[in-house]
């Protein structure tokens, strides 16, 4: 297999490193990548983690061409695929047969292996948890070259260590997923405009029969920080106006941003205008029946939207606030604090979650808050301060989005689960053949002395 040197970067474009890259296409090449033990390796998909999670210290394996479907039981909704297949490809295959992924991340370009290695969550995380909860088994290529089947019961330590394990336990070759049944391609969506954080929080926490819910806030509005809208959506039957499953699944037209825009183009004023435009649109359509594509992947309509932040890139702060009487207070602090430092987030999203089993998993019974900031020294300091706040309240940070954590902060956040995770990893990869810049930065595998 030919190799090349490439500069790899995460979705945030804030961290980049040079890496040797290889891209197997045949299973005979893919299954023997561990044979050459002169290189440390890491399997990667579409590099949609935000920081340096998918950049190997030495050789990064581009698995995107290992994307074959291996079996599909259309009666039981059990799909087995190679790890490089994307959520988009899966949706095209399973939708006509009346099945959908139970956990759908915010972009359809995530690979199946990446979805497991980051343990992604969707807008139904409070009902269906994170991605690994729906994975029946994975085939994992280990450091010694052997192929191990891992399930929640068989080799379960290794299974749960690999979920949210960011590729550090081995190479995920294929996965078997239990899908969710659907009877149409549409969702019934109710949008509630909210005028205060308390109202947003209450609407989000409303225990109705919706399948999905998410809150978007306008952080660029100086006067009222909690203003925004909450969407509740549920699957509907064809008889209730839902689009027929057999109709071709066509995604809406996408525009690709061809190049980086000057970073000054995206600022508090332009985003404030954009937010007002979006809210006006939502006000006009408080209730709609739409194809699920626009609800699940709203940002995918502008391909490469990360280029709007310019070459410096951006940072995401995605934290988990455990449910308590203080939840609203914590949210208020996290929204006000950036303002007090003169900073504004161009995207603020709130979701509900339930706790995950994965040791490095993000979800607790709580609420997640995601905020995007342009990458510069002040915002890095801001994120560090906000992370310390999360550590103090017993929350979590989502590792797949991180670009700024230190190893000390990581120990403080995940300390309780780290010993067992490290023991599992040490057993199966004693020589650290699987390594990434992320692991080096946070010292995941080895405790800091």
């Amino acid at each position: 297999m030919l190799s090349k040197e490439d500069i790899l970067t995460g979705w945030g474009n804030a961290i980049s490193h040079s890496s040797r890259c290889i891209r197997p296409e045949k299973y005979s090449d893919f299954s023997t990548v561990t044979d050459d033990n002169t290189h440390t390796i890491l399997a990667a998909g579409n590099h949609l983690t935000y920081g340096d999670q998918s950049i190997s210290l030495d050789t990064t394996i581009d698995c995107t061409r290992m994307n074959r479907c291996l079996s599909f039981d259309t009666q039981k909704g059990i799909l087995r695929c190679e790890a490089g297949i994307t959520v988009d490809e899966i949706m095209r295959i399973t939708t006509p047969k009346g099945w959908i992924l139970p956990t759908i991340p915010g972009t359809k370009y995530v690979t199946l292996g990446g979805a497991f290695a980051s343990n992604v969550h969707g807008k139904n995380a409070h009902l269906h948890g994170e991605f690994a909860e729906h994975v029946q088994s994975i085939m994992l290529r280990l450091a010694d070259g052997s192929l191990k089947k891992c399930t929640p019961k068989l080799n379960k330590q290794l299974f749960w260590a690999s979920a949210a394990g960011l590729g550090l336990t081995g190479i995920i070759e294929s996965l078997t997923v239990q899908l969710l049944p659907i009877s149409s391609q549409s969702l019934d969506i109710t949008t509630t405009l909210t005028h205060s954080l308390a109202q947003t929080y209450e609407s989000l926490m409303d225990d109705n029969d919706s399948d999905y819910c998410v809150a978007w806030l306008d952080h660029c509005n100086q006067d009222n920080l909690g203003q925004g809208y909450v969407e509740h959506a549920r699957h509907i039957a064809q008889s209730d106006g839902g689009m027929d499953l057999s109709k071709p699944y066509t995604s809406p037209r996408t525009i690709t941003l061809p190049t980086f825009t000057p970073s000054i183009a995206l600022n508090r004023y332009s985003m404030s205008l954009y937010n007002r435009y979006v809210m006006a649109k939502k006000r006009k359509h408080p209730h709609s029946i739409s194809h699920f594509h626009s609800f699940f992947f709203p940002l995918d309509s502008l391909h490469r939207w990360n280029r709007l932040y310019g070459k410096r890139g951006f940072l995401q702060f995605q934290c988990m606030i455990p449910h308590s009487d203080e939840s609203l207070t914590h949210l208020e602090h996290l929204l006000h604090h950036p303002h007090s430092k003169g900073q504004h987030s161009f995207l603020v999203v709130l979701k509900k979650h339930k706790a995950t089993q994965a040791p490095l998993g993000f979800s607790l019974d709580g609420i997640s808050l995601a905020m995007d900031f342009p990458n510069h020294k002040d915002s890095r300091k801001l994120l560090s301060d906000m992370t310390d706040y999360i550590i103090d309240i017993g929350g979590k940070m989502y590792l797949a989005k991180d670009s700024t954590l230190t190893s000390q902060q990581f120990e403080a956040l995940y300390g309780d689960n780290l010993e067992s995770w490290r023991k599992t990893v040490q057993k199966y990869d004693p020589e650290h053949r699987f390594d990434s810049h992320f692991n080096q930065r946070l010292s995941l595998k080895t405790p800091i002395l």
């Binding site: 297999m1 030919l2 190799s3 090349k4 290889i22 891209r23 296409e25 045949k26 299973y27 005979s28 074959r68 479907c69 291996l70 079996s71 599909f72 490809e89 295959i93 006509p96 047969k97």
Partner: protein, 249 residues
């Protein structure tokens, strides 16, 4: 459901990177396919994937075996309406090494030539005739120091295909169905062969595959894909030797 003896599309060298994309696009349009290659496991992987992805019966696949002749295989096939021949070798290694030379000439010239002759003959005897796309390369248009073994083998098979096209275009009679042979000359395509080549001229497999399918059906004689390679190679061929010999191509 496709009847077993409906006209099929035959893909030779079906485990090559471009062939997989051709098979993908043809399967998406529900064409019945027959895949031929050396690696059985890969063929099975491709066939299973296509059947799940496009909700079709799994395409038939045939593994190359030493004791099966081309005629044995062709006799077992139903009517072949189109044939895409991608049998080939990337031409790794030293152009002067005799073992490499035998390998490259066998896989890039001898085997494809034997196959497309036999398939063309068969198509001429079947009702409706057929069309063949033979994948050569722009590398065959002029010998250069970096890959003259690969380039010359591709030049050879391209000229063979041109001759075959000419033969079957001559005086079709009542006993012979029409056969068209298209010589395809791709430039750089995003496959394992060019993985470490950083060039804005690299084309996607999906573009090249759809280009080939479309133009085969339009009976194009020689297809440069993407189109601009026709003009690049025209210029390269025009360069006088006294200048060309100094270029580090």
């Amino acid at each position: 459901m496709t009847a077993h003896d409906d006209p099929h599309i035959f893909i030779l060298g079906a485990t090559s990177s471009l062939a997989m994309q051709l098979a993908d696009q043809l399967a998406a349009k529900k064409h019945p396919l027959i895949l031929y290659a050396r690696q059985e496991d890969e063929l099975k992987r491709i066939a299973t994937d296509l059947s799940i992805r496009y909700d079709i019966p799994p395409p038939r696949y045939i593994t190359a075996q030493d004791d099966h002749t081309i005629d044995d295989i062709l006799q077992s096939l139903p009517t072949i309406r189109e044939c895409y021949c991608l049998i080939g070798d990337m031409g790794d290694g030293d152009s002067d090494d005799p073992q490499n030379q035998i390998r490259v000439i066998t896989h890039n010239y001898q085997l494809p030539a034997q196959w497309i002759s036999a398939v063309a003959e068969r198509m001429s005897q079947q009702e409706g005739g057929g069309k063949i796309a033979l994948i050569a390369s722009v590398a065959g248009d002029r010998g250069r120091q970096s890959n003259y073994l690969y380039g010359s083998s591709k030049a050879a098979i391209a000229t063979f295909a041109d001759g075959l096209r000419h033969r079957y275009a001559q005086h079709p009679n009542a006993h012979q169905s029409p056969v068209h042979v298209m010589t395809v000359k791709p430039g750089y395509i995003d496959t394992p062969m060019t993985y470490n080549l950083d060039s804005p001229l690299k084309a996607s497999r999906s573009y090249v595959a759809s280009h080939i399918i479309r133009h085969l059906r339009q009976n194009k004689p020689v297809l440069y894909t993407p189109f601009f390679w026709r003009y690049i190679m025209w210029i390269i061929k025009l360069i006088p030797d006294r200048i060309f010999r100094k270029l580090p191509l």
